[in-house]
C-alpha cells in the first residue's frame, strides 16, 4: 500500500517532469556546491598535512613562518633571501641535530620546480605519515649533472631514464634564461607520493652551483659560454648558500629549545619553524574563509530546498481535482498527506544524490588541475560519510518541508469534498 503511494508520487512527479527536473537540478547544484567546498577544503588540508612528516624544524632566512613553509615544503611562492653555507654547516654540526636536508630552490624546468639537495633528502624526507621516498625506476643521482625527477614530471613531460633536460634560471618560462649549455640527465624517477615531490626535479647542490657559474649577476654573462664542463668540474662547487634546511633532531624533547636557539643565535639571523605549528597557523588563516564558504553553501542548499517547496506549492491548485479523484476512489487524508510529502522527499533525495555524483564527476574532471596547480590532492575524496550525511539531511529537510504543501492539500481536499469546480 505504502509502496503504491510512492508509485503514485513518482508518476505524478514524472507527469511534471520539466519542473521536477529543474527542481532536482537546483537541489543537486546546491548540494554539489556544499560538498565541493568541503572536499576541496579537506583535500587541501590532508594534502598539506601529508606532505611533510618526520621533519622537526624548517630553517630559512627570516620571513613569515607560513611563507617559509609554503616555499620550502609546498614549492609555492619564492624565498626572498637565503642562508649561507657556513650557517647551514653550523646547524648540521649541532649536537642536538640528527640530520639535515639542505634545499636550494629558485630554478625551474618547464614549470616544474628544481630542488638542489643531497642524498640526505632521499634518506630522511618523509611524507604521508612516515613514508620514505622511493625510486620506482633507475637510481639516485651520483654526478653533478644527473637528476631524479618526480612521478608527475616524468609522466607529464614523458621523460624516462636517460632523458636530457635543460633547467631555466628563475621561476619564469624558458627562453633567454635557459641553462641549455648544461643539460642534466635523468637517472631516476621517484614513485608517486601525492605531494609536491611528484612535481619536483631533484639535482645535486653542486649541479645548481655548476649551472650558475658565469651567472653570478643573475643573467648569463658572455663569459659563461666559454666555460667548458671540464673546467667547471675543476672548480670548487660547494654552494655559497641554501634556501632552506629541513632539520631532524636527536630527541624531539629538545624541539622548542633548539627552535629558540636557532631563532636567537648570534651571527646570521634565522627563522626556524615547526611544520605542524606553521600549518596550524595557515589553517587559522584559511579557516575564516572556509567557514564563510561553508555558511554560504549551506544557505544555497536552503535556497534549493525552497525551490522544492515552490515547485510543489505551484502545482497544488491545478491538482485539486486530482486530489478529489483520489479521495473519491478511497484515498484517506493520510494518503494525500503522504503523497505530497513523498513528492517533496523524492525531489530532495534525487537532487542530493545527483549532487553527490556531480561532485564526483567534477573531481574526476577538475581533480588533475587542482592537484597540479594548487597541490590539492584529491586522492581519497571519493564518496565518504559526509556525502551520506548530506544526502540524509537534505532528504530529511525536504520531507519536513513537504509537510507544508501536504497540510495545505489535506485541508483543501477535506473542504472540497468530491466537488471541485474548475
Amino acid at each position: 500500500m505504502g509502496l503504491s503511494i510512492l508509485g503514485l508520487a513518482w508518476r505524478s512527479l514524472m507527469n511534471r517532469r520539466g519542473s521536477a527536473l529543474l527542481t532536482i537540478l537546483a537541489v543537486a547544484l546546491s548540494v554539489a556546491l556544499f560538498l565541493g567546498v568541503d572536499k576541496v577544503r579537506n583535500g587541501a588540508r590532508s594534502g598539506f598535512d601529508n606532505t611533510i612528516s618526520g621533519t622537526d624544524l624548517i630553517v630559512g632566512a627570516p620571513t613569515g613562518q607560513i611563507n617559509l613553509l609554503l616555499y620550502s615544503v609546498f614549492r609555492l611562492g619564492s624565498a626572498t633571501a637565503e642562508i649561507s653555507w657556513d650557517t647551514y654547516e653550523s646547524i648540521d654540526r649541532r649536537d642536538d641535530v640528527d640530520w639535515t636536508i639542505p634545499l636550494s630552490l629558485g630554478d625551474n624546468h618547464r614549470g616544474f620546480r628544481v630542488v638542489g639537495t643531497n642524498e640526505s633528502y632521499f634518506e630522511h624526507y618523509r611524507h604521508g605519515g612516515g613514508t620514505q621516498l622511493r625510486v620506482s625506476e633507475g637510481e639516485l643521482f651520483s654526478d653533478i649533472y644527473e637528476t631524479v625527477i618526480g612521478a608527475d614530471v616524468a609522466q607529464e613531460l614523458d621523460y624516462s631514464i636517460g632523458s636530457e633536460i635543460v633547467l631555466t634560471h628563475g621561476l619564469g618560462a624558458g627562453g633567454l634564461t635557459d641553462h641549455e649549455d648544461k643539460p642534466f640527465i635523468v637517472t631516476g624517477i621517484l614513485a608517486q607520493t601525492g605531494t609536491p615531490v611528484d612535481r619536483s626535479i631533484h639535482v645535486p647542490l653542486e649541479g645548481i652551483t655548476a649551472i650558475h657559474v658565469g651567472w653570478e649577476s643573475g643573467t648569463r654573462s658572455p663569459f659563461a659560454d666559454t666555460i667548458s664542463e671540464d673546467m667547471i668540474r675543476g672548480f670548487d662547487l660547494t654552494p655559497k648558500s641554501v634556501t632552506a634546511v629541513f632539520v631532524g633532531l636527536e630527541q624531539r624533547g629538545s624541539l622548542l629549545r633548539t627552535q629558540r636557539a636557532l631563532n636567537t643565535q648570534g651571527g646570521e639571523p634565522l627563522l626556524a619553524v615547526i611544520p605542524g605549528v606553521a600549518l596550524g597557523e595557515l589553517w587559522q588563516v584559511t579557516g575564516i574563509v572556509e567557514r564563510a564558504l561553508i555558511a554560504v553553501s549551506v544557505f544555497v542548499i536552503a535556497v534549493g530546498l525552497v525551490s522544492v517547496l515552490t515547485s510543489i506549492l505551484t502545482s497544488l491548485n491545478e491538482r485539486r481535482r486530482e486530489m478529489a479523484i483520489l479521495r473519491a476512489t478511497g484515498a484517506r487524508p493520510g494518503h494525500i498527506f503522504f503523497l505530497m510529502v513523498a513528492e517533496a522527499a523524492m525531489l530532495g533525495l534525487c537532487g542530493a544524490v545527483v549532487g553527490v555524483f556531480l561532485v564526483q564527476l567534477g573531481l574526476l574532471i577538475a581533480g588533475p588541475i587542482l592537484s597540479s596547480a594548487y597541490g590539492i590532492s584529491i586522492g581519497g575524496l571519493g564518496i565518504s560519510a559526509i556525502d551520506g550525511w548530506t544526502v540524509l539531511a537534505v532528504f530529511g529537510a525536504a520531507t519536513l518541508i513537504g509537510t507544508i504543501p501536504a497540510v495545505m492539500a489535506l485541508r483543501r481536499s477535506l473542504a472540497d469534498g468530491l466537488t471541485v469546480k474548475l
Binding site: 503514485l8 486530482e322 479523484i325 473519491a328 476512489t329 484515498a331 484517506r332 487524508p333 466537488t419
Partner: protein, 234 residues
Amino acid sequence: MTTPPVIDLIDLRFAWQDGPTLLDILGFRVEAGERVFLRGPSGSGKSTLLGLIAGVLEPQSGKVEVLGHDMTALSGPKRDALRADRLGVIFQMFNLVPYLSLVQNVTLPCRFSSARRQAAGGEGQLNEEAVRLLSRLGLSGERLLARPVTELSVGQQQRVAVARALIGGPDLIIADEPTSALDADARDRFIELLNEEAGRSGSALLFVSHDASLASHFDRSVDLSEINRAKGGV
C-alpha cells in the same frame, strides 16, 4: 435476513460553513441493486448530497446510513475505508488522474482498499480485470490502452471512469452528472452501458442529473426539490 438499504437518509441537515441550510431531507432511501435517478437543477445541492453519501462531508444533524453503516457515527478513516471498499464514484468530467494509464486509473480504488483488490480477483488479476471491464465498455486494443488518458475523448474518459467505479463490484455506484459533457447519442449509449454493467455486478446506482429526459432509463426517479425542504421557499 433482509438486506439493509444501500442508502438511507434520515432527517438530514447540511449547510456549508456560515451558509444557509442547503439540504434538509426527511427521508430518502435506495434499496440494494436499485437504479435511481435523482434530478435537480445545478446549485441545488446534488453534489453536496453525494459528498455526504460518500462520507467525505459530514451533516450538521441527522443520519446518513450507507450499506447499514451510520456514516455520522463512523470515524473519518472508517468512512474512507467504507468508500474505498464498497463505493464507486463517477464525476461530471475530468475523472481521470492524468499521470496514470487507462488500466492504472481503473485499478486505482484497489490501491486504497484490499477488500476491493480481493473482490477484483486479487493482486495478480487486477490488470486483467481492468482490461476486461474496459473492453466491455468498448475500450480495447493495445494502442488505445497505451494512450495517455488526457488524449482520450470525453466519452472515452467517462467510460474509463465507469470501469473504475465498477471494478471489484461495489455495492453502490454514485454518478454526478456523468453525461453532461456528452452529446445525445453518446449519452444514451453511456447510460445503457452503465445500467447494464451495474446490473451485471449487482450494484445499486444513484445517478444525479439536471436533465429530466434521462429519467426513463431508471427504475425510479426522484426530484431533489421534492425531498429537500430547505429549498422549498426559494
